[in-house]
């Protein structure tokens, strides 16, 4: 069989994919000759759907905004259809009016403040304890043996099922709500931090040993430092979960807060206001996520972001 014929039958003119390897940081690659005009379209499409490769940022942003506009458009269209009950799907205009109403009487802002306080307190407490424990857990098998199986066990207990226990321990005040968010995120975060520590190449620990580092120095000056971008990313994900547990937390004898208010609105079928609060929750999440990502990129410039 003649193999050269087979090779020629393959599509010609494919540019080699850029490789994100550390060893290929050549000073400058020779420029390729311009592609023939007939294949340019095909090549453009190939580039936009290249596996795990970057696409131009303006295209990315346009696509993201287009999705939002499409969903709002679909919602607007649907809400004006005769077969849709306007009690369940309010029009965008009514939601906008409801937003103005909620904002003007200060209720929305108060709810945002108290909910953010609960989430932040629970989340910060969880991060404060979970990070050191996770670092030790990922560094020492001995501690892993003590902590990991039990943590996995607690992690699978649904958080709402713990409400009675939390109410018995912490009453029905703010503490119980904060503790619920803490319990919801703490065990997950501990395991995620430990995983990030385990992901640090062992060679970094070995080379530190040969430079005279003690075990404590390796844990905090090498493993922890190397895992920081990953830990920061775990915090971002966990913050998202903290906001979802807010709904559960505000089931406990609350009389203000975003979650509580949604439950109350639903009791009175005030769907436009429910939509307002959903939009606010989504926006807070999107904003925080964006903030975490920006901060990560700024704090950890050294990290190879193409590998995340």
């Amino acid at each position: 069989m003649d193999y050269s014929v087979q090779f020629q039958a393959m599509p010609a003119g494919d540019a080699p994919l850029p490789v994100n390897g550390s060893d290929t940081a050549a000073p400058s690659a020779p420029t390729l000759p311009p592609p023939p005009a007939t294949t340019r379209k095909a090549r453009a499409r190939f580039r936009l759907f290249a596996l795990r490769q970057e696409i131009p940022s303006w295209i990315y942003k346009t696509l993201s905004i287009a999705t939002f506009l499409a969903v709002i458009g679909a919602w607007a269209w649907l809400s004006h259809q005769p077969f849709v009950n306007s009690v369940f799907v309010p029009t965008p205009a009514r939601v906008w009016e409801a937003l103005q109403a909620c904002w003007e009487d200060g209720m929305l802002w108060d709810d945002v403040k108290i909910s953010a306080l609960r989430v932040t307190a629970g989340f910060a407490l969880s991060a404060l304890i979970a990070i050191p424990i996770g670092v030790w857990l990922g560094s020492f098998k001995f501690i892993e043996g003590i902590v990991q199986p039990f943590t996995e066990f607690v992690r699978y207990i649904p958080v709402p099922a713990l409400i009675p226990v939390l109410m018995l321990c912490f009453g029905i005040g703010e503490t119980a709500k904060i503790m619920l968010i803490f319990v919801g995120t703490f065990f997950q975060l501990t395991l995620m931090v430990a995983d990030e520590i385990r992901r640090v190449p062992y060679e970094l620990a070995q080379v530190s040993y040969t430079l005279g580092a003690t075990r404590r120095e390796i844990v905090w000056l090498v493993l922890f430092k190397a895992a920081l971008p990953g830990i920061f990313d775990a915090l971002r994900l966990c913050n998202g979960w903290a906001w979802t547990y807010l709904m559960v937390a505000e089931l406990i004898a609350a009389n203000e807060g975003l979650g509580y208010r949604i439950l109350k609105f639903s009791r009175f079928l005030q769907t436009p206001k429910i939509f307002v609060y959903l939009l606010v929750l989504g926006s807070i999440g999107l904003g925080l996520d964006f903030l975490f990502r920006k901060l990560n990129a700024r704090l950890f410039r050294w990290a190879d972001t193409t590998k995340r």
Binding site: S22, D23, A25, A26, P201, E203, L204, Q206, V207, S208, Y209, T210, L211, G212, A213, T214, E217, L221, V222, K225, A226, L228, F300, R301, W302, A303, D304
Partner: protein, 278 residues
């Protein structure tokens, strides 16, 4: 006498029983010597190096450095790995100075003038490595060869008694590797570094070493010791000289002799050809 290795062995416990990775091995490395451990992959030469570094537990025998037994890793035995293993969050300069920022390093630096000479030493090492424009660069911005130069500077900055290198140029392309070899020759000539170097590249071993210990395949043991007859002043031309070629042929011959194959490759090849034809 600097480094003494006596009847060093390594065994791994597997499900089938004990697996001997390194058979009782003995050798010495003197001051300012450059000794290579040469052998096929999986022959236990790296394991031997890791045991000397204190990163791998020894199953038997002993290791002494300047008469003191080696227990666990330490600053007196610097190590350079194949995969550079730089700290990605530290700049080139911070990487090279990492050892001095540790407690063990700080203990050795007590006065300001000592701190100044320490910084000066790191800088001159980096400059010698051709990294004077990259003090503030992060490892991800460097090429493979540059990363390995930082790793060597970092190991030497701690003033180790012996430098252990585990196939340090294995991941580099041929041109970069030759440049690195010359740099290493220059360093060991001027700094009088005692080096133990693991490689599977015969040419590299001859070009760099004063002495070569040839290892056999598993269980690893030294089958031959070769004194390299060339002086400290070596240049790339040496690799093309008849004496060099002769030595290379001799060592390659030793390694081949060890690879006794217990199957007939021609027969298997014929079988492959016949199945392709069908």
């Amino acid at each position: 006498m600097k480094l003494q290795v006596n009847d060093l062995t390594k065994q791994y416990r597997t499900k089938k029983g004990l697996l001997e990775a390194v058979a009782p091995t003995s050798f010495d490395v003197s001051d300012a010597e450059f000794v290579s451990l040469l052998g096929p992959s999986g022959c236990g030469k790296s394991t031997t190096l890791y045991m000397i570094a204190g990163l791998e537990e020894i199953s038997g025998g002993s290791i002494h450095l300047d008469g003191k037994p080696v227990r666990g890793p330490g600053r007196d035995r610097g190590m350079v790995f194949q995969n550079y293993s730089l700290f990605p969050w530290l700049s080139v300069e911070q990487n090279a100075r990492f050892g001095s920022t540790l407690n063990a390093g700080l203990k050795q630096i007590t006065t300001t003038s000592e701190a100044m000479t320490d910084v000066g030493r790191v800088h001159s090492l980096l400059d010698l490595m051709g990294l004077h424009n990259f003090y503030q660069a992060y490892p991800r911005e460097l090429s493979g060869g540059m990363k390995q130069r930082v790793a060597i500077a970092r190991a030497l900055a701690a003033r180790p008694k012996v430098l252990l290198m585990d196939e340090p140029f294995g991941a580099l392309d041929a041109q970069t590797r030759e440049g690195m070899q010359d740099l290493l020759l220059l360093l060991s000539r001027h700094e009088r570094i005692t080096t133990l170097f693991v490689t599977h590249d015969v040419e590299e071993a001859i070009y760099l070493s004063t002495r070569i210990l040839v290892f056999s395949a598993r269980p690893g043991r030294i089958i031959r010791e070769v004194k390299v007859p060339f002086g400290p002043d070596r240049h790339l031309d040496l690799k093309l000289s008849p004496e060099f070629m002769r030595l290379k042929r001799e060592i390659v011959g030793m390694l081949h002799q060890e690879q006794h194959s217990d199957f007939d490759r021609n027969e298997l090849l014929e079988k492959l050809v016949s199945t392709t034809a069908n």
